[in-house]
């Protein structure tokens, strides 16, 4: 048998003073008295001892020496033969999910997990290797393969729980990949089992689990809290909230807009029955909403008690109309809120450099060559240009296909639009055909582009309408203002400040994924292959025996000294 610290056997010399003190104790203490008058026939006399009383001294000494032996063994840390036969390679996977901050395990799941990992690190032998992987949204190696316990400890200090539920699939794949690099490897996953999505059962094979968390977590949390503007009326907004609980809980939900309290709801939550509500209002400026769950008797996870949502401000979009006055076009633009219309006509008045903040609308003319604004709508251009090649006029067109999911075509219905005169184009490469029409005889009954262009953020946007406004029917004239509104809306600056993500409904439940193969509640022990018998909250039995022995040693001595055990 080998020992991690064989020098501890030197402590065996403590047996000498134990024996010496014992011999001193077993010798009768000489006590002079003035007379034996009162000591005669006094019971019990020593020679009246029973056999047990005589033997118990030796039993006591033997027990003391036995406990000293066990104590020395504990300090020497014996290793069984199988433990020394093969070096072990341990892949420590630490779940950094937000649910690890739950306080249902004292002091928290996270602290319990850290203690478990630290104990495992402490039990590494000199020749064992270990690697530390943090399993968050994406797996991250905190410490590469090492035999250094201090390095693992330092890496462990850099770990912190994240803000969402962990995706364990990547971490497990990485762990199996690392395990394949070493012989006699083992994967130890320290987690609370709250995973989303669940990994495949194959990924959980050959993985030793160390669960943390209480048997019956009690938690209520905000699982959804978002704000959005109305598409029809951009000045109006909706705030949607959802609250769920893992157990029957009473709570109070406060909702604030820019710090001002707008609603308080008394909630009686039941598991599996989330509570929902939508708040509506109007505002053109930016609004920051906050929801807070309070007044709960017990709540294990604090991360889902506060949620925030932001509503961006609406900014006026300048539209530069490069066209002669047009009653329908002007009326459509004036009807749009948050639009500042400017007109430039004739075309020669157009400045050479476009304003990047403006939407240019060309009708009855084509943009000058080299004029590339950040966004422009060209209606029925009669020439070639960056949009492609002009193929000449066509007649009798019927809209055949529309990309309804495109944002600029939201609520734009072109199904029944019939056009008498259209222009044929060969779009430039890379252009998106938002709508097409089926040409008549002049077009060879082929599908031609009706609305095409590029309308994506991060690149110059342009859109070509292949017909003039006068050539459209009534149906299109009702759809065109909506199209304009979508174009203007798409030019609103995007929200820059994003609220922190919510842990989500899975995290709020704090329940283990059913596919883990582990009991749904309560910590479980991980099997050991490298001499580690420790669990999340327990020490080896032989260690407890030694502690009991160490405590018993002075106690036995005191008892024997006081003759209480006689």
């Amino acid at each position: 048998m080998n020992f991690l610290w064989p020098l501890a056997w030197g402590l065996g010399a403590l047996a000498l003073p134990v024996i010496a003190l014992y011999l001193i104790r077993t010798r009768l203490q000489r006590k002079p008295v003035s007379t034996l008058l009162f000591w005669e026939h006094l019971t019990p006399q020593v020679y009246n001892h029973s056999l047990w009383r005589k033997l118990r001294r030796w039993v006591s000494l033997a027990l003391q020496l036995l406990f000293l032996l066990l104590l020395v063994l504990a300090i020497a840390q014996p290793l069984a033969a199988w433990q020394t036969a093969k070096p072990a390679a341990v892949i420590l996977v630490l779940d950094t999910s937000v649910t690890m901050t739950a306080a249902d395990a004292a002091p928290s799941r996270w602290e319990a997990a850290l203690q478990t990992v630290r104990r495992r690190v402490a039990h590494l032998r000199l020749f064992d290797e270990a690697i530390l992987v943090a399993a968050g949204e994406a797996p991250r190696v905190l410490c590469p393969w090492t035999r250094s316990k201090p390095a693992l400890e330092r890496a462990l200090k850099t770990a912190a729980p994240g803000g969402t539920v962990s995706d364990m699939r990547g971490a497990l794949a990485l762990a199996h990949h690392l395990a394949a690099q070493r012989k006699n490897s083992e994967i130890l996953l320290v987690s609370d089992g709250v995973w989303e999505p669940e990994p495949a059962p194959e990924a959980l094979k050959e993985v030793h689990f160390q669960w943390v968390g209480a048997k019956e977590p009690v938690n209520a949390g905000i699982t959804l809290f978002t704000a959005r503007r109305s598409l029809a009326a951009p000045g109006e907004y909706q705030v949607i909230g959802r609250v769920a609980a893992s157990a029957p809980v009473e709570a109070e939900l406060e909702v604030r807009a820019d710090g001002a309290l707008i609603d308080v709801q008394k909630l009686k939550l039941e598991p599996g029955k989330p509570w929902r509500k939508t708040w509506e209002g109007s505002a053109t400026g930016a609004v920051r909403f906050e929801a807070r769950l309070t007044e709960m008797k017990r709540d294990d996870l604090a991360a889902d008690n506060v949620a925030q949502a932001s509503l961006p401000a609406l900014h006026p979009v300048p539209v530069e109309v490069v066209a002669p006055p047009h009653a329908f076009l002007d009326a459509a633009l004036e009807a749009l809120p948050l639009v500042e219309t400017h007109r430039t006509w004739p075309l020669t008045a157009l400045p050479a450099a476009p304003d990047p903040s403006r939407l240019y609308l060309f009708y009855g003319c084509v943009p000058p060559e080299g004029f590339q604004p950040s966004a422009m709508l060209v209606i029925n251009p009669q020439a070639d240009g960056p949009w492609g090649k002009y193929d000449g006029p066509l007649d009798s067109a019927l809209v055949s296909e529309t990309l309804r999911d495109e944002p600029i075509l939201r609520f734009v219905s072109l199904d029944n639009v019939r056009l008498d005169k259209v222009s044929g184009y060969t779009p430039a490469p890379g252009a998106t055909l938002f709508a097409q029409y089926l040409a008549g005889e002049s077009g060879g009954h082929a599908e031609k582009p009706l609305l095409f262009g590029q309308w994506k953020a991060g690149a110059p946007r342009w859109l070509v309408q292949a017909f003039g406004l006068e050539d459209s029917d009534f149906v299109y004239r009702t759809a065109f203002p909506v199209l304009l509104a979508n174009l203007v809306q798409s030019l609103q600056p995007e929200e820059t400040e994003k609220a922190p993500p919510l842990p989500g409904s899975v995290a709020t439940q704090l329940k283990r994924a059913p596919g883990t193969g582990a009991p749904a509640s309560g910590p479980s022990e991980a099997p050991a292959r490298s001499g580690w018998l420790g669990g999340a909250s327990s020490l080896p039995v032989w260690w407890w025996a030694l502690v009991a022995g160490a405590l018993w040693l002075p106690l036995e001595w005191a008892l024997f000294h006081r003759r209480i055990t006689e």
């Binding site: 203490q29 008295v33 007379t35 008058l37 006094l42 006399q45």
Partner: protein, 303 residues
Amino acid sequence: MIETNPDQLFDAAFLAQLESLSLLARRIVSGKMRAERRSSRFGSSIEFAEYRPFISGDDWRHIDWNAFARWRQLVLKLFVEEEDLHVHLLLDCSASMDWGEPAKFDQARRIVAGLAYITLANLDRAAVMPLGAERYEPWRPSRGKHRFLQLLRYLAQCPVAARRPEPRRLEEAARRWIASQPRRGMVIWVSDLWGADLEDALHALDRLRYARHELAVIQVIDPTETDAGERGEYEVVDEETGAPRKVIVDHRTRAEYRERVEAYQESIRSYCRRHQVALIQTNTRVAAPDLLMQSLLQGGFVK
């Protein structure tokens, strides 16, 4: 360890307190009689006692010629003889007295010295008999305060008896002293009364009583003797005989020990009450002058 230096054993404060005690004793005695005490014997004092017919051999000078003239018969006129009181101070010198801190023997010697001083100050004769230390000469009856310093040196050098295989019997010591035919008087026995057994102590008291002495007893013990001590296994050794006993002291043993001591003390008290023997049971923690004052006030120790 007993003290042999008289200056240490009887310090100046102790001696100063003795003088005040002697004054107290004088007041107590003068309330009854003067220092001179009448004896049952006839002598040559001036106080008339009785007439007795003249017989041959009588001193003719004591014939009362006036009575002869009246009665025509030779009679002798007898007078009450005036004599001083003999106070015999019996000091227990057994080895058991060499015990405690301070030693019982030291305390006993201070008590004896105090009683002797009071005796001498009242013009009585004081004698000291070291019971148990046969080789140490007793202090013969003497009177006069001028002998007190010699008495202190005598007491300081008084030894305790050597260890012997058998416990010394108190009755035997009393018998020996009585056999020396001391003059009748008052006997004050200062001892721990730890005899071979209780009967031994009581028989010793019987012998002193039967000798027609006026008996008073001061029992001096050490406070630690009333308790068996800390729990544990011990080999107790008798200081007087060296005899060992192996005992276990536990809760029960301690209680039994205390009961035995108390029963022994109660037997002594009962005996003294029954036979009107003045008794003071004290321990070495009580200052000797306080004890002497108690003896003066209690009665039985002053005549």
